[in-house]
Amino acid sequence: MINRRNFLKASAASTLTGAGALNLSQASAFAAQTPTDFKTIVCVYLDGGNDSFNMLVPNTTAEYNAYAQSRQALAHDRLALQSISPRGLGANSFGLHPNMPELKNMFDNGEASFIANVGPLIEPTNKADIANGSAFLPTGLGGHNTGSSYWKGDHDSTVNASGDGIGGRLANEFVNNAELPMLISSGAGYDLFLNHAEQPVYGISPAGLVLMRDYNLSQSARFAAAPATARRAALEKLNMLGVNDKNLFMQHSGQLLSQGLNLSLTAQELLGGIPPLEVEFPAAPFTNVSRHLRRAAEMISIREGLGMRRQIIYVRATGFDTHDALNAFHAPAMAELSASLAAFNETMKQLGMDSSVLTYTASDFSRTLTNTGDGTDHAWGGPQVLMGGGIKGGELFGSYPVLELDSDDDYNGDGRIIPTTSVTQHAATIAKWFGVPQSRLSAVVPNISNFSGQQDLGFFA
């Protein structure tokens, strides 16, 4: 069994392979693939820690009663649940949040599934090992950055100098011959998930595609003297001065600006005429998830025209850190997530892309089953959504925990559920579907060797 020290060193080593010239020589030691098919992954990050045991609820009598006993006033009325019947687990054995009828429909139609209980783990872990001190646990368990470091980067939060992400590493495995980057961020800037890529990140904004403001292209042309071509040529020279400066921040800025200048011009040419989407996306004032997914759908709709055979899209939905007034936020948030995912899924179906676009939710952690008045605290494992991508729909993957306080699934009596599936396995399964061969899996998901028992969760058909 790997110990934590080895794990940390292994992670640090994987960081060092990203260093300078070393990286370039090592990167050239393997040939990045040029795929022939089209695939897109969309990570919908529920920022702050989604209270996911109120998103997917047990609906058999004993299990529901344990849930209701633990959650007390936060428990859903059993009759209000959107009842589902995961394959092999019995009719109406689970229920979704009452505000998620669209997600229920997709689940029933075999277009969506759930992972039952996934979270950050260094190695397979159980309560007995935690109690006797033999389990190696993620540093700072329960912290936002701990959860997000694993979900976004498959590394411990103490390995923070690397700051590299699964999406970024995944991108490095593929050749992108399109003129726009395959890494796309909506509403999240240069997120950790996308970091460590050798190609730039294309930032899109919910307000519209982000283009360079070039005043010669606007009605304000009369305020410029030099023509746009002369100004751009001068800018490119200035950027090259930065790239060649001895200061590393200057080099970084020069590269970023140079990439951005080229991207902006390309985007103006390529993205100006995106056909409007037919599906109407819902309003989502609580989480903003709808606007981001709509922009993601637009970028996917033109992927073939752009020759973009792989896309990695990161979407951030905000507000999930519900320490207070949980239901006032979470009920509309779940409604927004459900309706927005459905609009996105419908768009993908219309485009004939539903089986080649995998959408999944991720979140810092789930929340305590017990409450602190009208909210819940940071916990650990919990359910997550899978949609599209040709997954096996209508299933619940992994083991759903017993939601009873102090059960073998409960870390400390407050209802902090120990994950039975690791984010590492989750990421590795997706990476394999995306086309990463077994020999390269640990380059993308460095911790996967700790889960040699089951590297693939089997949720793809």
């Binding site: 934590r4 990203g18 260093a19 300078g20 990286n23 007390q72 700072g140 329960g142 912290g143 936002h144 950055n145 103490t158 923070n160 100098a161 690397s162 700051g163 961020s185 240069y190 970091n195 460590h196 730039p200 930032g203 283009l211 360079m212 403001r213 005043y215 009605q219 304000s220 042309a221 305020f223 003297a225 030099a226 002369a230 100004r231 001068a234 800018l235 200035l238 001065l241 930065g242 200061n247 590393l248 921040f249 970084h252 800025s253 970023l256 600006l257 990439q259 951005g260 991207l263 902006s264 905000t318 207070d324 007034a325 017990t370 409450n371 602190t372 008045g373 909210g375 940071h378 400390n412």
Partner: protein, 577 residues
């Protein structure tokens, strides 16, 4: 010719040396180069050597919202230390008072009795103060503190209380860390944001199983000690196996959560304490107050800090427990390096050397966390003043969007129109960063973020890069010129954001033949780039209008626009060194 009195930092203040020096108008020159005797080095290696325009601008880029020609000129006739001391003596510019004074905030509405700003008004007042307030160092310190003690209007949407919180940071920018920590902990906006307001002891009858851990966790992780044990120089301590050492465990969070029980907003009573609607009331900007009936009075065991009692006996009041707890956090060995390093990152450089952090942490500890002494030490430190010469490859930071905006406006000499020009006056949205509006308590960026490319390959942090995709950096840069100048010029002067005289003084620097505007470029080099412009860059700018046959609308104003456009999209403007 300028006569200066040099007063050594190291020698008794009565010992003075008089030096006559020429103040260079443009290029930065380093007089501390080789060839000087050690004793002269000592004399010159303080903050009082003669200051040229470029060095003055460079200092003001670190210490203010952006150098202005007037401030630069004044500083060349003074010293860094005098400038700092003068800043300490200036009265605080209060955002609420300022908002009321210029008519952006309404005093008392029909529902609320307090000042009533909306989002637009709050941002506009912030802009005005960043642009115009004399107490620049205090305001910059408040901005830095707002990125350590983070609250966000995305979670709590009262702009009165948000402004009150910002004023708390302004008013307490130069007190002790311990005093500030207490004021932050008891602030209503913070109480609402991280759930300490209304947090109560476990009460199974009311289905409250245990106290809320949110504030307890974040005050340790983000506001005081951080996740892992640190050396005085800010580097992680390692155990015998080479592992980092966590500062606290989940059980510590749970103990601390019990301490922070029994506090609520000023206008709450025992009868209303338990109401789930924990609204805010604009009338009250004061601290939260304690409610004994809701406080957990059990014994608690806190983190062990030498010299402090880590056990809280039973039956203490909420106030007593708060005092004991904050003393422990403020005096934890991690706090000095954890806070000092982040302040260095906000003002000076993303990757301070461990020696620099150690020097500042030492000041922090020796002054009981006196933030005035700390910020002074940060700005006067040899690494702040000479890091670009000593470590030219690694020194500096990417400018965060807000500081690009204010630096551009102040440097160019734009004057904001006092009347609120409507939502179009607020450019923060395009810059993807607004004061007190981070996505979460983890701020706009993490102190240890390292973007892919040359920075991560060389193991360097660049927190601000977390906001920047290659597309957004270009959008932001071009927004500065397009929105600040072009859109403004195209508007009716009465509704324009900035006064019409904004760029008049810059047009005067353009030669009549409109080509090679050397005076303009040199001026912008000083106010926008702290004199860092290379000859190559200068030539690129000067040559833009040289082959100008067929150029449209070639006039002085448009030459100014073009040059500003190139500068704001240059790497030099995007980096502070």
């Amino acid at each position: 010719m300028i006569i200066k009195i040099l007063k050594s930092f190291f020698i008794s203040t009565t010992l003075c040396v008089t030096v006559i020096a020429f103040a260079p108008l443009t290029h930065a020159t380093d007089t501390r180069a080789a060839g000087l005797t050690p004793i002269i080095m000592l004399l010159l290696d303080d903050d009082n050597e003669e200051i040229d325009m470029a060095s003055a601008s460079r200092f003001l880029m670190q210490a203010t919202y952006g150098p202005t020609l007037d401030e630069i000129t004044a500083l060349t006739n003074s010293s860094y230390e005098k400038w700092i001391d003068n800043q300490f003596s200036l009265p605080a510019t209060n955002h609420i008072e300022y908002g009321l004074e210029i008519g952006h905030f309404r005093p008392g509405g029909t529902i609320f009795q307090g000042p009533v700003p909306g989002r637009t008004q709050r941002y506009s007042v912030w802009n005005h103060i960043a642009m115009n307030a004399p107490d620049q160092l205090r305001q910059r310190m408040a901005f830095a503190l707002s990125q350590i003690f983070v609250v966000s209007d995305r979670a709590v949407s009262s702009h009165s209380i948000a402004t009150g919180y910002y004023d708390l940071l302004v008013d307490n920018a130069f007190v002790s860390y311990r005093e500030l920590l207490e004021k932050v902990a008891l602030n209503q906006f913070m109480g609402r944001f991280l759930g300490m307001a209304g947090n109560q002891r476990a009460n199974p009858d009311l289905n409250i199983i245990r106290p809320d851990e949110n504030f307890a966790r974040e005050i340790m992780q983000l506001f005081s000690i951080g996740l892992v044990e640190l050396e005085l120089d800010g580097t992680p301590k390692l155990d015998a196996n080479g592992n980092q050492i966590p500062t606290y465990a989940q059980s510590d969070v749970e103990e601390l959560a019990k301490v922070f029980t029994g506090w609520h907003l000023e206008f709450i009573s025992d009868a209303t304490f338990d109401q789930t609607n924990r609204g805010l009331d604009n009338r009250y900007l004061g601290p939260m107050r304690a409610f004994a009936n809701f406080h957990d009075v059990s014994s608690k065991t806190l983190l062990s800090v030498p010299g402090f009692n880590s056990v809280i006996p039973p039956n203490q009041t909420a106030e007593q427990e708060l005092e004991q707890t904050l003393d422990i956090l403020a005096n934890h060995p991690n706090t000095a390096p954890f806070i000092s390093k982040q302040l260095i990152q906000r003002f000076v450089t993303s990757n301070p050397t461990p020696a620099y952090v150690r020097r500042i942490s030492t000041v922090f500890n020796e002054t009981d966390g006196d933030l005035q002494a700390v910020i002074k030490a940060i700005l006067l430190d040899a690494e702040a003043r000479q890091g670009h010469l000593r470590n030219p490859e690694t020194f500096g930071k990417i400018k965060e969007p807000i500081l690009k905006l204010t630096g551009f406006w102040r440097g160019v000499g734009l004057l904001l129109n006092v009347p609120l020009a409507g939502p179009s006056s607020i450019r923060f949205e395009q810059m993807e960063q607004t004061p007190l509006s981070a996505p979460s308590v983890f701020n706009f960026f993490r102190p240890d973020f390292s973007p892919s490319g040359v920075l991560s390959q060389n193991g360097l942090f660049s927190p601000e890069s977390q906001l920047l995709t290659s597309t957004s950096i270009v959008t932001m840069g071009s927004t500065l010129t397009d929105f600040s100048l072009i859109s403004n010029q195209s508007q009716n002067p009465n509704s324009a954001t900035f006064t019409a005289i904004a760029t008049d003084h810059l047009e005067l620097l353009v030669p009549d033949d409109l080509v090679r505007p050397e005076a303009l470029v040199e001026h912008l080099n000083i106010v926008l780039l702290a004199g860092s412009m290379t000859d190559e860059m200068r030539e690129i700018l000067l040559n833009l209008h040289s082959g100008s046959d067929g150029y449209a609308a070639l006039n002085k104003l448009n030459v100014v626009n073009d040059i500003l456009y190139l500068i704001t999209l240059s790497p030099d403007f995007n980096v502070q060194r």
